[in-house]
């Protein structure tokens, strides 16, 4: 049984079918890649899995338990962490406070008002994780002062605070310089070595092909192919989805019609 399973998920925005019977599974301990042209539904799928978008059809299961349409905070507490395409941090909080936000899910209603934020243990762990991504020196800085790359690292670090089973990374390499890209890649590998599962959306082919154990290609809201990086790279359907359809629009739509059925 796969750790994360998406089955038959459909999502429509007005006339646009963003997700059409989407099927995806991520095995325990792997780094899965998700690629596809712009607008193929990758981020929408992320939003559905993490509870930011509700769906009427289809199901999302984590470790066999249905988590479809739960709210984002509940899904996070179940063990799915996520980073955003455009990094989102709490600009007016310090870096260390940003880290602590992820462990503030007090269960009782009034406990939150009494309990002090950030226990010794939580702060220690936050510092360790900041050290792990290499920005521990900035712990006291307001997060708004961080550079774009540092924000990416902070976002990765604070998602790790709650020790999630699966990490969904939306374009971790987007807009990042090559040196930092290597840092991010190494950190993902290291975490994966510790048994953490990843699902990565990325446009940087070199990054995806070099990092992922398995790559799934999406187009027009459904899965085109899934397989090892080298298989996917040479698959004609994939080349078609990325490059084709410029000259003969009709033929391409027909093709996809066939594929979807």
């Amino acid at each position: 049984m796969a750790l994360l399973e998406v089955e038959g998920v459909k999502k429509r925005y007005g006339g646009i079918q963003a997700l059409a019977s989407c099927v995806l599974s991520v095995e325990q301990g792997e780094i899965a890649g998700l690629i596809g042209p712009n607008g193929s539904g990758k981020t929408t799928l992320f939003n559905v899995v993490t509870g930011y978008e509700k769906v009427r059809e289809g199901s999302v299961r984590l470790d066999g338990k249905v988590i479809t349409n739960l709210s984002p905070d509940k899904i996070f507490n179940r063990g799915i962490g996520r980073t955003f395409q455009l990094t989102r941090i709490f600009g007016r909080l310090s870096v260390i406070e940003n880290m602590l936000v992820a462990v503030q899910h007090e269960r009782s209603w009034w406990g939150a008002a009494w309990r002090r934020a950030g226990s010794q243990g939580e702060r220690k762990r936050a510092t360790e994780l900041l050290d792990f991504v290499g920005i521990a020196g900035l712990a006291g800085e307001p997060a708004a002062n961080l550079s774009y790359g540092q924000r990416k690292l902070l976002e990765l670090a604070y998602v790790l605070m709650s020790d999630p089973d699966v990490l969904l990374l939306d374009e971790p390499a987007g807009g990042v310089n090559p040196t930092l890209l290597n840092v991010i890649r190494e950190r993902i590998r290291e975490l994966n070595g510790q048994g953490r599962t990843f699902l990565v959306v990325e446009h940087n082919m070199e990054f995806v092909m070099g990092l992922c154990h398995r790559v799934t290609v999406m187009d027009h809201g459904s899965m085109l192919v899934s397989g090892r990086p080298e298989e996917v790279r040479s698959n004609p359907k994939v080349l078609d989805a990325y490059l084709g359809g410029v000259d003969d629009e009709d033929e391409e739509t027909d093709d996809q019609h066939v594929l979807r059925r």
């Binding site: 709210s71 455009l86 008002a113």
Partner: protein, 348 residues
Amino acid sequence: MLAALAIFPLVFTNPTVTTIAVFTLLFMASATAWNGFAGYSGYIALGHAAFFGTGAYVLAIVAQRLDVPGGSLMFALVPLAGLGAAVVAVPFGLIALRTRRHTFVVITIAVFFIFQLLAFNLSITQGSSGIQVASPNWAASTYNNPYYYVALGIVVFATVISWGLRRSVLGLQLLAIRDDEDRARGLGVPVGRAKLIAFVISAVPVGMCGAVYAYFLGQIFPQFAFNPLFDLSVALMSLFGGIGTLAGPLVGALLLESLQQYFTIQFSNGDLYLVIYGALFLAVLLWLPRGVLPTLGDLIRRLPKSGATGNSANAAVTTLSGNPEDGDPQAGPLAVAGGGVVGSRREY
């Protein structure tokens, strides 16, 4: 500061002065409580007068029904008024907190006016004829003092809440909501619950202030107990002093309310302060968007160390205003307010 406030009525015995002082304290407590919700979460609520009015009416109605005589016993109803405000804050919050930013501001104003309408039209509030509250027969020279100390107690209560909130799990949740609510949700923060709890907590001291106000004046009317200017005042006081800081609302209320009362008496023109308020609101948003205290704190920090006396005197201001932790020198309080009012943050 507390010591100065504690001996104030012993030094200034003029009833005019102590009357101003009582009103000022009530606004200090209310602004601090308001800031505990709006300042931390970025949700600019303009309906807290509903809690003020509820508190006032709870005291007046209960005192009338139970025939409570004028005297110190009446103050026992003040916590009850706080509880009453908390009770009405639950449905109010459930409705208003479904929305965000501009919509939230408008909804809080609308719900507030529903409260005012109810006070005008329900039989229990006796409509526009208002309710009388029995007055105590204390000596005229020290008549204001009990009110003063009860109000001071509420100020301390509200400040302790605000301080505790800032350090609590809930406080961090609120600050995260202020900066990016959807991201906070995605990190396991139960945003709806956090906002509602903070909203209800912030209603309590405001309701208690309303009760003291009702008892102090001796009679209440819907348009004064549920006064839209109260909403604007507490928001302006917090913005002026420094929204989201602990001492900001205290200082803002201390300066603005005492000045307003003074001007009203000095120029015997009750509406002049409205003009001043409007102008001040604009000025603060334009030039001091983070409020007086944080700006002052920054100035002091930037000054070269000029001498021990200056520094120690200013240290208090810096620590009180100062939120080196949550303050961001670059992002202005327009951005603070932005979480609630002017921000145009992406959804996700």
